[in-house]
């Protein structure tokens, strides 16, 4: 029986015990013998969903067990009309919840899309990996019935405003250095479960998903002329750990969850297909303003190294007055999945590290624990390549060159960045307006309340 509270699970009835999922698990959370059904050690699991992407064992109508299909769908909480293939490793499906929210006419629905969604969803409709469809994605969400089609990238721009200010503040005070990014929930989960003594290094910024959720239910509600209780906030994510993040008790700025439901790229594609909405046939439409307007800097959050590059563009502009479209900082590979660079920020030398793939962070964390870290700022993305390789992304089936597909998805985000008129977060007019009309300033009182939190077992959110 699948535990519905568990976000990532392996169905013992379908698991063949090939242990290929164990090969990709960054935290060794898949437990079991070869040829026997595997289980997940929930105390270690970071819910990144890499096992779900890798799993090949599935139930077919040709099987002897075919009569179980309806029952397994029910056990997994899948809608009856769901026709997706039942793989052994799977994540919690929230399509039913979203459909219910859309049908509830007493609420205004707002949806946000993570940057990496527009670089991969077309694959579910038969297009090549890396086909970029931001306009059609916005159109599809509108056809599905969302009242406001907003964007996580807008919140990614806000994250940069907050996080770069926080970095400058920490550089000044030299407290809790080096600073770690906090955008990736798999990474945050891992720090909490495996390195709890290093939590103070984590930026206090919420992830873009949670910033967007908090802003939808406050600023967005004001724009829509509704109270926060009348907003249904949904996010479309490339990531299974985002489902967990949205459910954290500290992510409730207005008394209800900032993000009410999270669906992945594959779930959204399933909902669209069930409704007969074919993404590739839709016209290109714009996201709604103001919370759907985004810059190139926020866009590249979906590829590892992107948060760093986005932060640098703003940091360089704020501290030197030099408005750049690209930071020009080149990171060099120094280890498997580890890239380093040094640069001048605010008149001092800053050492930055990018880690792509959770398993590659251990060595650096050991250095931090020993007080021997030689860097000031570290970006960690749980999945190798960044969110474009997340557990909620379209499954790359055997016969597809996975590395090549991830590269194409990454490239399409970088191309998107280059074709956008505004490429730095602080120049996004909607972000400027948000600070002028609402938040006042980065790290101000209201942004502290809405956009920051504290992580760890004792976390209770800020007040």
């Amino acid at each position: 029986m699948t535990d519905l509270h568990q976000i990532v699970s392996i169905d013992p009835k379908l698991c063949t015990g090939c242990r290929r999922c164990a090969e990709v698990c960054p935290v060794d959370a898949v437990i079991g013998e070869q040829n026997k059904a595997q289980t997940i050690d929930t105390s270690r699991c970071v819910m990144c969903g890499q096992c779900v992407l890798r799993c090949s064992a599935f139930l077919t109508p040709f099987d002897d067990q075919a009569e179980n299909i309806a029952q397994i769908r029910m056990e997994r909480g899948l809608p009856e009309d769901d026709r997706s293939i039942l793989f052994a490793a799977h994540f919690r499906n929230d399509c039913g919840k979203v459909a219910q929210m859309l049908a509830d006419k007493s609420k205004i629905s707002m949806v946000q899309c993570a940057p990496a969604v527009r670089a991969s969803i077309a694959e579910e409709f038969g297009l090549a990996p890396g086909t970029l469809t931001p306009g059609q994605l916005a159109a599809a969400l509108r056809r599905l019935g969302f009242d406001f089609v907003y964007d996580t990238i807008f919140a990614a721009d806000v994250t940069i405003m907050e996080e770069s200010s926080e970095l400058l503040e920490r550089l000044e005070s030299n407290e809790n250095m080096p600073m770690f990014t906090s955008c990736c929930p798999g990474w945050v989960n891992h720090l909490e479960t495996a390195w709890p003594d290093l939590l103070s290094h984590l930026s206090s910024c919420k992830s873009p998903q949670q910033m967007a959720g908090a802003l939808f239910k406050t600023y967005g509600a004001e724009i829509a002329g509704k109270s926060s209780g009348h907003i249904a906030s949904v996010s479309v994510m490339p990531c299974t750990a985002k489902k967990f993040e949205a459910g954290r008790p500290e992510m409730q700025t207005t008394g209800t969850p900032d993000v009410d439901a999270v669906i992945t790229v594959t779930e959204l594609a399933g909902m669209l297909k069930n409704k007969g909405i074919f993404l590739e046939q839709l016209p290109e439409e714009d996201f709604d303003t103001p919370l759907g307007l985004y810059s190139g800097a926020g866009t590249i959050f979906g590829a590892s190294g992107g948060v760093m590059e986005a932060a640098l563009r703003t940091a360089i502009a704020v501290t030197t007055g030099n408005e750049v479209s690209e930071s020009g900082v080149v990171f060099n590979k120094t280890d498997e999945g580890v890239f380093r660079a040094s640069m001048e920020v605010a008149g001092r030398k800053v050492q930055a590290v990018i880690v792509s793939g959770l398993a590659n962070a251990a060595k650096l964390l050991d250095e931090v624990r020993a007080g021997k870290a030689d860097f000031d700022f570290m970006e960690v993305m749980c999945c190798s390549g960044g969110c474009v390789a997340g557990g909620g992304q379209p499954k790359l089936l055997p016969g597809i060159d996975i590395e090549d597909a991830i590269l194409r998805r990454r490239q399409s985000l970088h191309n998107h960045d280059k074709e956008l008129p505004i490429r730095a977060s602080h120049r996004n007019p909607s972000v400027k307006a948000l600070y002028e009309n609402y938040l006042e300033k980065p790290l101000g009182h209201l942004s502290h309340k809405l956009l920051h939190t504290s992580y760890g077992n004792k976390s209770g959110g800020h007040e």
């Binding site: 063949t16 015990g17 290929r20 040829n35 090949s56 599935f58 040709f62 089936l397 055997p398 016969g399």
Partner: protein
């Protein structure tokens, strides 16, 4: 094209001798003993019974085998005689079962392999002196036939010629 065994539905009487011969050919056990021990009966040829027709279906040994290209662990390869499954690598994911265009792949337990279900299909009884066992036991003359590369070339050539003639003269 690779050699394979083809059935003639008009001649097949649906007796299932081929299924039994297939299991016997792939098992060292005596068939009666195997029955007593309740070993899995996993033929690599499957009789399809319909009201109007009966016919065995088995692997066509496709040249660009779809089963081989979808196998996530590279357990299916062409060895120069047949498209073959390495049961040590196979972990029973069923990707090949879904990809096979003729429904010839089976996934289940086979005796003398692993305890877990694995993929199995016609291997043309390689190593067996008299060729495929199903063909030797079939009581209905011509119902099962081994088509060699040359014969297949001949048949394919005839069909192409027929199509060309159809296109040129009959579709006006």
């Amino acid at each position: 094209m690779h050699t394979f065994v083809l059935s003639d539905p008009e001649r097949c009487i649906g007796c299932r001798s081929c299924e039994i011969a297939c299991v016997a050919a792939h098992m060292d056990e005596d068939m009666v003993e195997a029955g007593n021990k309740k070993l899995a009966f996993s033929p690599r040829i499957k009789i399809i019974h319909e009201a109007q027709v009966t016919a065995p279906i088995q692997c066509r040994q496709c040249e660009d085998a779809p089963c081989a290209s979808v196998c996530p662990v590279g357990a299916i390869i062409y060895d120069g005689t047949a498209v073959r499954i390495n049961t040590e690598l196979c972990f029973g994911c069923k990707a090949c079962l879904a990809a096979c265009p003729v429904g010839a792949m089976q996934v289940g337990r086979i005796h003398e392999s692993s305890d877990a279900p694995v993929a199995h299909k016609c291997d043309l009884c390689s190593g067996r002196e008299d060729g495929p066992a199903c063909v030797s036991v079939c009581p209905s003359p011509g119902a099962l036939k081994i088509l060699t590369s040359d014969e297949l070339k001949l048949i394919a050539g005839k069909r192409r010629r027929k199509s060309a003639l159809q296109l040129a003269f009959e579709n006006k």
